[in-house]
């Protein structure tokens, strides 16, 4: 991230961290103390998380105040700037990669067998990132062909290595 954007990023992240810290302290105070079972308050489950939450709030507050001094509260959000960020190639690539990870890891692996899920994931990943929409489809026939070869080889290699060689069960 550019240095010039850091005060704004710090403004937002410090607020999020303060909320997390306060939530941790709140949740910790609600934890049982087991004093009626012979426990010591100083040994209760919530004492250490509460102290850590307080430290997190204190440190994040310093970052928050520092970001205000550096005028990080001037977010400068408008339709044009947000549109520019969303349309930026690197942002799109980043979001697509995250989406692939989430879909494959959290959904495909639960709904399908490992072999089917992995074949689909590798094939679609390579095609999406290597296919150039500006060039004609016929000129890029190698992309899906290589994608099929690599996805098949990868799926077979990983499946056999893990199940036969390393004796790990796959989903």
């Amino acid at each position: 991230m550019k240095e010039s954007n850091m005060p704004r990023a710090d403004f937002i992240t410090s607020m999020i961290l303060i909320v997390v810290g306060v939530a941790a302290v709140w949740n910790s105070l609600e934890m049982p103390r087991y004093e009626n079972q012979g426990g010591n308050f100083l040994d209760s489950p919530g004492i250490v998380p509460a102290l850590l939450g307080i430290m997190l709030v204190a440190l994040s507050l310093v970052v928050f105040i520092r970001s205000i001094v550096r005028k990080g509260y001037k977010l400068g959000w408008n339709t044009a700037s947000l549109s520019a960020v969303v349309k930026d190639t690197m942002t799109v690539r980043m979001l697509v990669t995250i989406a692939f990870g989430v879909v494959y890891g959290l959904f495909l692996m639960r709904w399908l067998h490992f072999i089917a899920a992995t074949l689909i994931f590798v094939f679609v990943f390579i095609v999406v990132f290597e296919y150039d929409i500006k060039k004609p489809l016929a000129a890029q026939w190698k992309v899906p062909v290589f994608a099929i070869v690599i996805s098949t080889a990868t799926t077979a290699g990983v499946y056999l290595a893990f199940t036969k060689l390393f004796l790990v069960n796959l989903p």
Partner: protein, 508 residues
């Protein structure tokens, strides 16, 4: 003599075909993983931990040590040939390695980097062998109060050194890691903290999936974000370094080796800091300062010696205090625990031969790294030309399978994905990952020891300050925090100026 005998016995124990084969393939794989930008030593060790789950403990751990040493060295290849560090530990290598490659001296640079890595690893190994038994005995002095302060000191110094521009963010990352470690059933009453009724969350956050996500998936996102990869076109010339290149810089080699090892001992501070500090010290004391940044052999040697010396250094606190000296060492610690080895203050009493065995592992890994590093230069250049769009999905599959394999839980895959996104976001916001990882490792240690200390002290805060070790750790922590403030820097500059002025007056 007793130590040498134990080392000899340990070495003999490892001279079996299956173990030597493991040494060769895991070191080779480590070099490949290290040299590919986007794959880090931490990711390599974490993924291999799951693959070696069913192996015997010693075979598994030697495989991981070889992967660790191979990966830290392997990153120098892409640093020299592509100006992209294969792992963060090799960032300093780019500064002089890449200019040498542009001058047509890529082979010489690779030879120097390999030799530097070998010598650094040897120096670190010697310190590991000599220092670990002593530190193990001192670690017995660490009781609840001292372990609590040690955990705090570890977070503070790790945050300080891994976020030099903004240590506050390093400390925040550390406390986030400590809070993450609080998730799940706690040791005293088995109360499921922060589980929100979920049975899976009450089991806690496993270290390996969290690390695979933070260092694996996060790297994949960062790599795929950038569409262009530079292709390697350089010719590889003579690889074997001249003896003159090594003997001329013997002081730099020894200094970088010792500095790298010491930095490895500091909790959570890793090979990248070791490389930069070694490089910086070499530049300050060099007679050829003007060459630094333009293809200095001395600079390249310092960086690679420092980062590889850090590896055995990072293993020292793992063995003696069960505290990792770096992120890959944190995974190594997790792997030892999985395989039933219990490092910590009692290791010299319960399992003294294990320390010698680890020294032998480092020695074998170092030799394998040197032999493979020198002999596989030209074939490995081809590996660098694999397009990222084909490599990264394979890496992600390994991340996913590796996270699942430990406990066969889909929850761990979710942890990996979540920590990947969190790790990437933290990187973008300049929050370093190392303190967070250290916090996750130290969290249980801090929790148990702080609660025990509070009960022993009966709530009296003065009990936290009444042992010499506690006072030393508190003083170091305060010094590390205060040293970053502007008024301290101004006071230090004034004091240094006054002392120098006094000596000049006396001289004249």
């Amino acid at each position: 003599m007793e130590g040498l005998r134990m080392l000899g016995e340990a070495l003999l124990g490892f001279l079996k075909w299956d173990i030597l084969l493991s040494v060769v393939w895991s070191t080779g794989l480590g070099i490949i993983i290290g040299m590919l930008p986007g794959l880090t030593a931490t990711m390599g060790v974490a993924l291999l931990t799951t693959l070696t789950f069913k192996m015997a403990a010693n075979n598994a751990i030697i495989t991981l040590v070889c992967m660790y040493i191979g990966a830290i060295y392997g990153g120098s290849r892409s640093a020299i040939l592509l100006n992209i560090p294969g792992t963060p530990a090799n960032a300093a290598t780019c500064v002089d390695g890449y200019p040498l490659a542009k001058q047509g001296r890529a082979g010489q640079a690779i030879g120097i980097a390999t030799t530097g890595s070998f010598l650094g690893s040897v120096i670190g190994m010697i310190v590991l062998a000599l220092f670990t038994p002593w530190l193990g005995r001192q670690a017995l002095l660490f009781k609840s109060f001292e372990m609590f302060w040690f955990a705090i000191f570890g977070i503070i110094i790790c945050g300080n050194l891994t976020a030099p521009k903004d240590p506050l963010k390093g400390w925040i990352a550390g406390f986030i890691g400590l809070l993450i470690a609080m998730i799940g059933a706690e040791a005293r009453w088995s109360y499921p903290r922060f589980s929100f009724g979920s049975v899976e969350i009450s089991g806690g956050i496993e270290l390996i999936p969290a690390m695979v996500g933070a260092f694996g998936f996060a790297e994949i996102i960062a790599v795929m974000k950038h569409p262009v990869m530079e292709h390697v076109n350089t010719k590889i010339d003579r690889i074997w370094p001249r003896l003159k290149d090594i003997t001329m810089y013997w002081k730099t080699i020894i200094r970088s080796g010792i500095v790298g090892t010491i930095i490895g001992i500091i909790p959570g501070v890793g090979e990248d800091t070791a490389a930069w500090v070694s490089y910086d010290l070499a530049k300050r004391s060099s007679k050829e300062k003007e060459l630094f940044g333009k293809g200095s052999i001395e600079g390249l040697m310092a960086a690679e010696t420092g980062n590889n010396a850090c590896v055995p250094g990072a293993i020292i606190p793992v063995l003696t205090l069960a505290v990792p000296g770096s992120a890959p060492a944190a995974v190594l610690l997790g792997a030892m625990l999985i395989h039933g080895v219990h490092p910590g203050p009692m290791i010299m009493q319960e399992n003294p031969t294990f320390v010698s065995e680890v020294v032998a592992m480092v020695l074998l890994a170092t030799i394998a790294m040197f032999v493979l590093g020198m002999s596989l230069v030209r074939p490995l250049v081809k590996v660098l030309q694999v397009p990222r769009s084909k490599l990264m999905p394979i890496v992600f599959i390994l991340c996913m399978v590796g996270s699942f394999a430990i406990q066969q839980r889909f929850f761990d895959i979710g942890v990996m994905v979540l920590f990947g996104i969190l790790g990437y976001a933290m990187r973008e916001m300049d929050y370093p990952m190392a303190p967070m990882v250290l916090g996750i490792v130290l969290g249980k240690i801090l929790d148990n020891n702080l609660r025990r200390a509070l009960v022993i002290s009966g709530g009296n805060p003065l009990r936290f300050f009444d042992t010499p070790v506690s006072i030393i750790l508190i003083a170091l922590t305060v010094f590390v925090v205060v040293a970053r403030t502007k008024w301290f820097a101004a006071g230090w500059k004034a004091a240094r100026g006054a002392v120098v002025g006094l000596f000049r007056k006396k001289a004249s």
